[in-house]
């Protein structure tokens, strides 16, 4: 069905792909796995015509494709969900789903009604609760991801590539997607699936290819592997339990949130964070987790309630206030909220902590570069250079830069929103270790995540949210995934 | 404003309008551009004169912002508003022709100042640019013994004053085979641009290679003078010629840094005087020629202090 032969691709200074070949049969769900920067997305972009390969050939259905362009590859029946969402922020959900192939009426004019109806139908079929009239720019990241899924699924494609579609989705949202993928695969549609959540690979995929540093390691049947083997082949070494042993020295309450309210989004949320503790926040997409973090640090205005730090009432009018009070935030979306994409790694690492590098009122670039280098080494960020423009980095590596930026701030309270989104297992372990060490040294962390095992493995306590309401706070030791899910889907209290 | 309250205060110059003073007149004054002292003076002196002498006259001034279509729109606005008479100094003749014709057809008398339009109007008052160019060339030929290399700094490309001042000059120059224009540029009537251009020319032409600089207004002439002075070449005796007759130019003539300028009448207060005559039913000539004058070293004493 699909064969890619001897694909190589070089970017200035980086050999992203080196003689990679894969072949995928009709109806397969083929997993593409590898560390951050291994070349997975690049390979898929070559398939979709977004990049032109330096050498190699792409064969679809026995036909060798000459001069692939995105338009041509769409025509050949290839649909791709890109890792970095490719949506029109100012347009509606319906229009985004049908971009480039708008339904037309008899007179050849765009038929908005049909477009809307179709969008609604697709979203229902996928169990994706999408409002076709909503403007994409107003949606949460998870919702945007769903729009991308709807867009790809509605194309009636022969080959569908999903590049980390689930990085921000919780378990609940996955179900609908997986069910659909499986049923479409039965009908003969071919899938290529990229994810760093190995559990999904085993649950969904039939065959796999492993990439490492731009080279193919091997291909095979998923059933021939187990998790440890996969990790070993990807990372090149054995990894035991990826969650570090919790070493804690929990102190007094440092951050208290009381009756935090934002109309329609947060309702009377109250909780406390203790010094040296990691508090997790669980919930389904749109539960309001992101909003809590943003409200605390002053990124969004609130309608009621208050935030206390070390017992003192604080009122942050902007994140600058919050950061001055030694808070830090790792935002949910790295592309628009986390990074200055046109700037390099050094710049992005230091931007929030410039005071540290000042000598005589000017930035000491030597020191700045040193610290950036330290973080690159710490996270194994690839390519391991500090002068790479972040726009040109792979998704997972970008996320590492965002983390570096926040850690460089030396804050006391860290708010992290999906910190391991799109990060490979090796680096995940790295990040867990770092978080662990930070709290050991007295930092306090609030961590939002859609990956329940991660919350359970890293946090001390877990707060569960649903529709802007706090449903419960449970001790991580006593919780399990079923319990968290049951709170996350429990009906919210009706308020007068 | 000016509610028919007669201002009898001015003594020595009795207003020529004692009799039909009760009727109120609305006059539209459309100026092509106010980016130039000459144009500003035309408006201000006329308006000031009217304020003093014709209390029953209301004047609405519009500024075409150096854009003919804006000036056409201005005139349309004025007509729509029901003016009794239109005074207009057109940016370009042709472009304002139709709208003046429209005004005449609507029974609104039209006085054109400084520049005429290509249709019959009540009267044209002004001098003409072309003869100024001719006169400049003549006097320059005399000063240089009919032999010389000249740089021409023109006004704004396409503006009719520019075209006329240029054409008059080269037309006359054709009579002197040994006088030639060695370089020319448009400097938009701005001192800054003229100075910059002249700086480049002083690089291009060495000492003795430039005999005169003919510019389309005094501002640009003074820009050229500044450039010559900054280059330390004021001893070469380059003859700088301006036009309009600003006070600063007169001073420059007095101290010898400019050769001469051509005084261009800015049609005030004649413009408004004739307007009043028309409004009060007096007949006036369809063409009222105002005089231009050349101011040079010889007659500078008569002019100093009377500049724009």
């Amino acid at each position: 069905m699909l064969v890619m032969n001897n694909i190589s691709k070089e970017f200035p200074g980086v050999k992203a792909l080196d003689d990679v070949s894969i072949s995928v049969k009709k109806g397969e769900i083929h997993a593409l796995i590898g560390e951050n920067g291994a070349g997975k997305s690049t390979l898929m972009k070559i398939l979709s015509g977004a990049y032109v390969s330096d050498s190699g050939e792409v064969i679809v259905d026995g036909e060798k494709i000459k001069n692939p362009t995105p338009a041509l590859m769409i025509e050949k029946g290839i649909a791709v969900i890109y890792q970095e969402l490719m949506l029109l922020e100012h347009r509606t959900v319906a229009e985004n789903i049908f971009i480039g192939r708008y339904p037309k009426n008899r007179y050849g004019m765009v038929d908005y009604k049909k477009m809307r109806d179709e969008a609604l139908r697709i979203s229902q079929e996928l169990q994706l609760d999408l409002d076709p009239d909503a403007i994409v720019g107003d949606l949460s990241v998870a919702k945007r991801q769903m729009v991308e899924i709807a867009k790809a699924m509605s194309r009636n494609a022969k080959i569908i590539v999903l590049d980390e579609p689930t990085a921000t989705l919780g378990e609940a949202e996955l179900e609908g997607l997986f069910a659909l993928v499986k049923s479409l695969a039965k009908k003969g549609i071919t899938f290529i699936y990229i994810s760093h959540r190995l559990r999904e690979i085993f649950e969904l995929c039939t065959t796999l290819t492993i990439l490492k540093d731009g080279k193919k390691v091997e291909s095979g049947k998923v059933s021939d592997y187990d998790t440890d083997m996969l990790v070993n082949r990807m990372v090149g070494r054995d990894m035991s339990d990826i969650y570090p042993k919790k070493e804690r020295n929990i102190g007094k309450e440092i951050l208290c949130v009381e009756n935090l309210t934002r109309k329609g989004i947060l309702h009377d949320v109250s909780f406390c964070l203790r010094k040296g503790e990691i508090l997790g926040i669980a919930g389904l997409a749109g539960a309001g987790r992101t909003e809590i973090l943003r409200a605390i640090i002053g990124a969004d205005p609130v309608d009621g309630g208050c935030v206390k730090i070390k017992g003192k009432n604080v009122k942050f009018r902007s994140p600058a206030d919050g950061i001055r009070a030694k808070l830090g935030i790792v935002p949910e979306e790295r592309k628009t909220q986390g990074l200055m994409l046109k700037q390099n790694v050094t710049y992005n690492t230091s931007i929030a902590s410039l005071k540290k590098y000042m000598t005589n009122g000017l930035i000491n670039t030597r020191k700045e570069k040193q610290i950036a280098k330290d973080y690159v080494d710490l996270f194994h960020t690839r390519p391991g250079k500090i002068d790479v423009i972040t726009q040109n980095m792979s998704g997972g590596n970008q996320q590492k830069v965002v983390l570096s930026k926040c850690l460089a701030c030396d804050c006391e309270i860290l708010l992290v929103d999906e910190p391991t989104r799109g990060i490979d297992v090796g680096a995940k372990q790295e990040i867990y270790n770092i978080l662990n060490n930070l709290v050991k040294d007295g930092m306090s962390i609030v961590m939002v995540s859609s990956e329940l095992p991660e919350l359970l493995g890293v946090c001390d306590r877990i707060m569960v949210m649903n529709e802007g309401h706090m449903m419960a706070i449970v001790d991580a030791e006593e919780a399990n995934e079923e319990l968290l899910m049951s709170y996350a889907t429990k009906e919210v209290p009706v308020k007068m | 404003t000016g509610n028919a309250a007669p201002q009898a205060t001015n003594s020595n110059e009795p207003s020529p309008s004692e009799s039909p003073a009760d009727k109120k007149y609305k006059v539209g004054f459309s100026q092509g551009t106010m980016n130039h002292p000459f144009r500003v003076a035309m408006v201000e002196e006329n308006v000031a004169y009217a304020k003093e002498h014709y209390p029953n006259m209301e004047i609405i001034v519009t500024d075409g912002n150096n854009d003919s279509s804006k000036q056409v729109a201005d005139v349309e606005d004025l007509i729509a508003q029901g003016i009794d008479l239109l005074v207009i100094s057109p940016l370009t003749a042709e472009a304002l022709t139709d709208v003046c014709e429209k005004a005449m057809k609507a029974g609104i008398p039209v006085l054109t100042l400084d520049r005429n339009v290509n249709t019959e109007v009540t009267s044209f008052i002004g001098a003409e640019n072309r003869p100024m160019g001719v006169a400049s060339a003549k006097l320059l030929a005399e000063m240089l013994d009919e032999k010389g290399r000249i740089i021409e700094i023109q006004g704004t490309a396409g503006a009719s004053a520019t075209i006329d001042r240029h054409e008059g000059f080269i037309e006359e120059l054709a009579n002197y085979p040994e006088m030639e224009i060695i370089a020319e540029q448009y400097c938009d009537y701005l001192r800054e641009n003229a100075m910059r251009y002249m700086e480049d020319m002083l690089q291009r032409f060495g000492p003795g290679e430039i005999d005169a600089v003919y510019t389309h207004n005094d501002e640009m002439a003074l820009g050229a003078v500044e450039a010559i002075r900054a280059a330390g070449r004021e001893d070469e005796g380059i003859k700088v010629i301006g036009m309009d007759g600003t006070e600063v130019a007169f001073e420059a003539i007095q101290n010898g840094s400019m050769a001469f300028t051509v005084v261009y009448p800015y049609c005030a207060p004649e413009g408004i005087q004739y307007a009043y005559k028309v409004l009060t039913g007096e007949k006036i000539d369809t063409r009222i020629q105002l005089d231009t004058a050349i101011v040079s070293e010889e007659n500078i004493d008569e002019w100093i202090g009377k500049g724009l």
Binding site: A71, M86, L88 | V61, A73, A80, E94, A157
Partner: protein, 329 residues
């Protein structure tokens, strides 16, 4: 604000609901209405039929250019060369009239020249990958020079040739000036294209995210190229009306028109960074600017003060337009 309006248009249950929502979010329209009311109180002449006709005729010429500019801005580009296009078309068509060329043919040639300048802009921007600002600054400079060169710096009148195209710029039908019909025809067609054709939607898509548009199979090069051709074509059309109105083709015609056109679009809610807006907003923006100019003229504010007041009103108008605020927030 045009943001919101375009949204509701696509969704909505009933057309009625739609319109209501549109009006609500169209803040600058209310500002315009307020100015009109104030104007007619200050100076009753303002609402006289002849003055209203006068204003809409004035809107038409610059408005046509602004419609083209709206297309360009929606893709995230800019076209500084429109004024120069007006100049080139003005003098060439005028000189063709002088030479006795069939007026209809001359007009067609004029439109083709306008489109050709747009074609060159599009070529440099899409194929040459030159940023639109620089490309059109280059063509602005070069084509203004060309217009002056062709006409040798002088306005070109065709009075003697007997050609009469006054109808186009000065004529009227049922009391409404002909340019107004042309403008509204352009406006409606542009609106339909933007809203109901794949090309129009691609214009928005490119301005929103070139990359997303490209990867969705939209032909970015063709769409962008076409947008500059449209802009050049409409500049040519506007030039034809202008020369008919002035009975002369001036090489300096249209000077500064680019800033005016951009202002009309942006005041009307089109984002200069692309993806948001539309031509209905441009109509409102153009009307606002023309109403201000007309009002200041007819209440007789002195020229220098006029500029001061005009500048302040522009700022106040946008300030009062709460939606524009929200968009940025």
């Amino acid at each position: 604000m045009a943001h919101k309006s375009s949204v509701s248009a696509k969704s909505g249950n009933t057309i009625f609901n739609n319109s209501i929502q549109k009006l609500k979010s169209f803040g600058i329209l209310w500002v315009l209405i307020a100015i009109i009311i104030i104007a007619s109180i200050l100076e009753p002449t303002f609402l006289k039929f002849s003055n209203v006709v006068n204003i809409i005729r004035q809107i038409a010429i610059n408005g046509i250019i602004a419609v083209g500019m709206t297309f360009v801005l929606l893709t995230g580009g800019i076209d500084l060369s429109v004024g120069a296009s007006v100049g080139v078309v003005a003098v060439t068509v005028a000189m063709l009239f002088q030479k006795g060329v069939n007026p209809v043919l001359a007009i067609i040639i004029g439109l083709v020249i306008g489109a050709a300048i747009g074609f060159i802009n599009g070529l440099g921007i899409t194929k040459g990958k030159i940023v639109p600002f620089i490309m059109t600054l280059g063509t602005l400079t070069a084509f203004r020079g060309l217009a002056l060169y062709i006409a040798n710096g002088s306005p070109q009148s065709w009075r003697k040739s007997g050609v009469d195209i006054k109808f186009l710029g000065q004529g009227d039908l049922f009391g409404i000036p002909v340019p107004v019909y042309i403008f509204f025809a352009v406006l409606i067609i542009a609106h339909l294209i933007l809203k109901y054709t794949a090309f129009g939607r691609s214009v928005y898509a490119i301005g929103d995210s070139r990359e997303a548009a490209r990867l969705s199979g939209i032909n970015v090069v063709r769409t962008e190229w076409l947008v500059y051709i449209i802009s050049g074509f409409l500049a040519g059309l506007s030039s034809l009306i202008l020369i008919s109105r002035l009975s002369v083709g001036e090489p300096t015609a249209g000077e500064g028109a680019e800033l005016d056109a951009i202002a009309m679009s942006v005041i009307g809610g089109t984002s200069a960074s692309g993806g948001i807006g539309g031509v209905i907003g441009t109509l409102v923006g153009a009307t606002l600017l023309s109403v201000i100019a007309n009002l200041l003229n007819i209440i007789g504010v002195s020229p220098f003060i006029q500029r001061i007041v005009k500048g302040i009103i522009i700022i106040l108008a946008i300030l009062l337009d709460q939606n524009q605020k929200k968009r940025k927030a």
